[in-house]
Assembly symmetry: C2
Homo-oligomer: 282 residues x 2
Amino acid sequence: MDGTGLARRVVEETAHRAAEITRRTGVRPCLATVLVGEDPASVTYVRMKRARCAKAGIESRQISLPATTTTAELTETLRSLSLDAGVHGILLQHPAGPHIDERAAFEAIAPEKDVDGVTISSFGAMSFGLPGFTSCTPGGIMRLLDEYDVELAGRHAVVVGRSAILGKPAGMLLLARDATVTYCHSRTRDLSAIVREADVVVAAVGRPRLINGEDIKPGAVVIDAGYNPGNVGDVDFDTARTRARLITPVPGGVGPMTIAVLLAQTVDAASRQLGTAGENTG
Amino acid sequence: MDGTGLARRVVEETAHRAAEITRRTGVRPCLATVLVGEDPASVTYVRMKRARCAKAGIESRQISLPATTTTAELTETLRSLSLDAGVHGILLQHPAGPHIDERAAFEAIAPEKDVDGVTISSFGAMSFGLPGFTSCTPGGIMRLLDEYDVELAGRHAVVVGRSAILGKPAGMLLLARDATVTYCHSRTRDLSAIVREADVVVAAVGRPRLINGEDIKPGAVVIDAGYNPGNVGDVDFDTARTRARLITPVPGGVGPMTIAVLLAQTVDAASRQLGTAGENTG
C-alpha cells in the first residue's frame, strides 16, 4: 500500500483548500507546534511537520520551551494558544519529557484546535462516532484502508498495541466501522494464534519485527505503524508480503499519512473557525 | 457468582460512609435523578434507584420532565444541576427519548458529578486509567471479577456488545487490567468461534440466549449483563453453567451490582465535593 502516493494527494488537496480559505478570508490556516526540550528526534519531527505545512500554504508558529518547563507552564502555554484566534490547530510534540504530566497538557488543548487528535474529547469522538478530529496516525490508517477499498464490516481486525494516540484510537475507529476488534499488547499470550485469525492486522507497538510473517493469514491486509531504528517496522515485511493481499511498507506506508492527516485536519479546523466550513470541506 | 450478596456488602459499606459524611459535615450525599417522559420501565428503574438511595442514607432529588422536553431544555436542566452545590451526583435515566440528543445531554453533566459514568470524560478516564467514575454496569462487573479473584492479565476477554455505557467501557476496563480484549457485535462473523477462545466472556448486548452454552470454554468465567424480558440473560445459562468455572445468574448477577456502584460513586462524589475525601474513600 502506497502511503507516500496517497499522502501526496491528500496534501495536494489540502493545499488547494488552504489556498481557497486564504483567498476568501485573507487568513492563512495556522498550526502552533509546541516542543519541550531539544530531543533530536522530536526536533526533527517538528521541523519536518513545519516544512510540510509551509509547502501546503499553512502557516506554522513554533513555540520552543526549555526542557525544564513544568506541567503548569506547559498547560498555561497550551491554554493561551487555545484562546488565540490566530491559531487554528495545536500540536504538542510527544514525548514532552518524563517530568511532564502529558495527559494534563493534552487536555489543555481546546477540542476544536486538537488537530493531532490527542484529547479525551477527540478519543470520545472517535469511539462514539461523533464529529471531531482523529488521532493522526489512526486517521491515516483509515484513509489508507479506504483508498484500497478494504472491507471492514464483519472482518476481524487485530490491533497490536494500546497506546492512547495509536493503538486504542485505531481499534475504536475500526470498531466504528463494524470490524470485530481484538486489542493485543505486551501481556497477550500467544500473539501468533490471534494474529493468524486476523483479516486486518494493525501493528502499532514499536518493536522491530514483533509480528511473524508466517502468522499472516493468506489474503490478509497488514498495516505496519511501527517505527523502529533502521527503518524497520513491527512486522517481518519480507515474509508477510508473500502472504498478505495488501501491506504497508516501512517507510512509505503509514508514516507519510500521519503528517498528511495533521495538515488536512489543520485546514478543517481553520475552515470551521473562519466560517468557511460547508464550502471547502467534505 | 453472587451479585446480590456482593452488592449488599457494597451498599452496606456505602451506607456507612454516607453516614460518616453526614456526621462530619451535616450534609447528606445527594443524587439527582432526571427522568424524561413516563416510560414504565424507566419509571420503575428510577424508583428502584431512589429507594436504594434512601436505604443507604443518600438523599435523592427527582426531576421529572415531560416527554416533550427538548434537548436544549434537558441540557439546561443538567447544567444547572451540575452547578448546584446541594447535588453531588447526577443520573439521567436512559433512554431519554428518540427526539433527544442523548450524547449532548450526557455531556452537560459535570464530570465530577457523573456518578453514572456516561460522559466522554468518564469514558476517557476508564480508557486511559485516569481517576474518574466508571459506567455503573462495567464498574460492577469489575468488582465482581475482583471479588472472585479472576485473573485478567494476559487472559482473553471477549466482550459481546459495544454500547457507549456498557460494552465499550467494559472492554476498556478489561484492557486497562491487561486482558487481551475482543469486541464482538451484531456484525461479527462466527461469534461462536471467538467465544470459544475466551477465558472471560462479557455478554452485554440484550439478545436472549445469544451466547450458546456449548461455546463456553471449559473453565471460563461468564459475565451476563444482558437483561431481557422474562429474566433471561444473553447467555444460555443452563448449558453454560455446566462448562464455566464461574457464571453470573440473571437475575442476581450483574444487575444488583449496577445500582450498588451508582450508590458507591455518589458517596465518592459527595466525599470529594464536601472535602472529606482521603478519610472516607479508599
